[in-house]
Symmetry: C2
Subunit: 390 residues, 2 copies
Amino acid sequence: MELEVERRIEVLQRRCAARPNVLAMGGGLPARELFPTQLLSRAFVSALAHRTDESLQYGWPEGNARLRAWVADRLRARGADVDAEDVIVTAGAQQALAIATHVLRGERTGRASVEVDAESYPAALELFRACGAKTVTTMTTGTAGTNGTAGTATERRRYRDVACVYVVPGASNPRGRGLRGERREALLASGAPIIADEAYAELRFDGRTERPLLADARDRVWHVGTVSKALCPGLRVGWLVPPRDGRARALRLKHHEDLETASLSQAILAELFTHIDEDALLTRARLFYRARAERLMAALRRTLPAWRFEEPEGGFSVFVETDADLDDTDLLELAAAHGVTFDPGRMFRASEATRPLALRVCYSAVSGAMLEEGVRRLAAAFREAGRWRR
Amino acid sequence: MELEVERRIEVLQRRCAARPNVLAMGGGLPARELFPTQLLSRAFVSALAHRTDESLQYGWPEGNARLRAWVADRLRARGADVDAEDVIVTAGAQQALAIATHVLRGERTGRASVEVDAESYPAALELFRACGAKTVTTMTTGTAGTNGTAGTATERRRYRDVACVYVVPGASNPRGRGLRGERREALLASGAPIIADEAYAELRFDGRTERPLLADARDRVWHVGTVSKALCPGLRVGWLVPPRDGRARALRLKHHEDLETASLSQAILAELFTHIDEDALLTRARLFYRARAERLMAALRRTLPAWRFEEPEGGFSVFVETDADLDDTDLLELAAAHGVTFDPGRMFRASEATRPLALRVCYSAVSGAMLEEGVRRLAAAFREAGRWRR
């Protein structure tokens, strides 16, 4: 993406974030209503009283032992061969992605592309590009599935040229779709290293958490997780489970980059998870976001019937595609004037294509009737954009 | 440093950390007695109650606006031209160092060395080396000062070949010495980019905080600060003030690497600093560490008179030099058996030289009479090492 456009989008987003009357249907923020403030307070008090050093002193680069054991337990319950020693606590999922990317870049030099969905998480795409990799979609295109040639020599050859494959299983970003069936099989059969970003994996509306890719390709999967979506982002805690032969390099990188993840955040979580029923929290979050998703989809279908989107299976957003030959950033500017924001589609596209118009619309942080109001404002901006073009 | 030796040191350190009867005179940990747990608790409660979004939601990559204003105010009071907009909050000083290093590496390709003190902070040295830079000491050697040729054409030429100069002003690590006079002048006259790591700058025993290098070379200094030494490390909060033309690149890197620093840690600090007298805390810390430093030095002089060290002017440690032809890691192993640890001198040396024997001895995290006991154990290990050699 051109720097100038990127800046323009950022300026718009920042300006809107400062105006409370603008409805934020961009950004992918979790709902503040779900932040477990009481539980966090109790965990904080307990951690500081009984685990002062664990909370406030320096720790080891791999992170809090109790928290790593919790991560490993949950992954083992889903079929993966993971011990606490395999887990590295990171500053959110983003740092886990960055570490995996840097290690793989060092290992697989000369392979200058990363295979991604046709639309994917912008900060991952930016990271890959900043590392000098092209983002390509030779096969794992967003909606198409595979062509049934999984594991053939051709597939393997195709994957051999990429540094790695980046996927967001469970509920992708921005489409909120799972990774299943032939596509999953093809990915596993490819032999390529996989960065599996489970940011939304536990927020599927059907309550089913997919078998982690890690469980089927332990030696090639760089597993990434986080508490940012299901609990809250402010702790800035995620984790990386690298292949066993990548752990030492990943840990050195972690040490060089920031020594360790915040002890306090980790200690709060370690306390929290000894006292709460994580699955009850997840169930509540799934129902909550499903209701918002349904309300947004109904409003979109009613108000903007020409806009196409797949029904999300989880996550925070729908990805809207249109036939309109409009610029997404121009539309964002108009939408902001109408009191609503969204994320321009170009940010998500592996190809960086700007046309036809597409947009990510997030339902996660907009409550009740404000979802319909947001869609009305989007429609008004869209109509105005159409008039301007004529 | 060879990977094998590095691992051996780490294994020893980890084993000792798990044994409460081992006195930790290595590691450079701040004293837990100074952790402001009550103040942190009050700040946490206040932040969560009144600033929920600021504490728990995603924020912008540059960090909490109130915290950045606090950093800028304090730097301005010391003579530097810094606004809140110039400050990037980072995951501790280490991430600030890493960002500065990566940006400078991108800008100054082909310059494959970093100028450092003859002894310096190990995690910075490791970072530079991991980035492919040699650590060199053409001029800013630990104790010698300059040769009076500051700013001459020769000096400038010398510095032109380095990617940057890394210094720890105020109180260096491991020597705890200030950066003054001719050395400071030469550095400023050199024209080279400077990474100024102020980790210990506010912990000088004389209570004087040196004028920041930033105040005299705004366009070349990458200023690094942290709350880890004066408050506590567990929040994992530091900051970077890059030259103005480096800000955009630094901020992009921050965004790619971990999106932002933990909102909760930042909000706690922002609350804390509106309610406390930071300078009173600093005064207490200075007196506290000065007392420990004096007690350690007295014990060393009494028990190990052949060991040489400069008196620290601040910080957490002394750097001991000896004439002994002993291996520092062998000595560490013996010391651990005697119930005390230290940091092997090779970790700090730009040259990576292992002989003659040197060691960093930290007084920061050892209380009262345990300092004398620690020195007795060091002496016993040292005597035993001497016997083994014969």
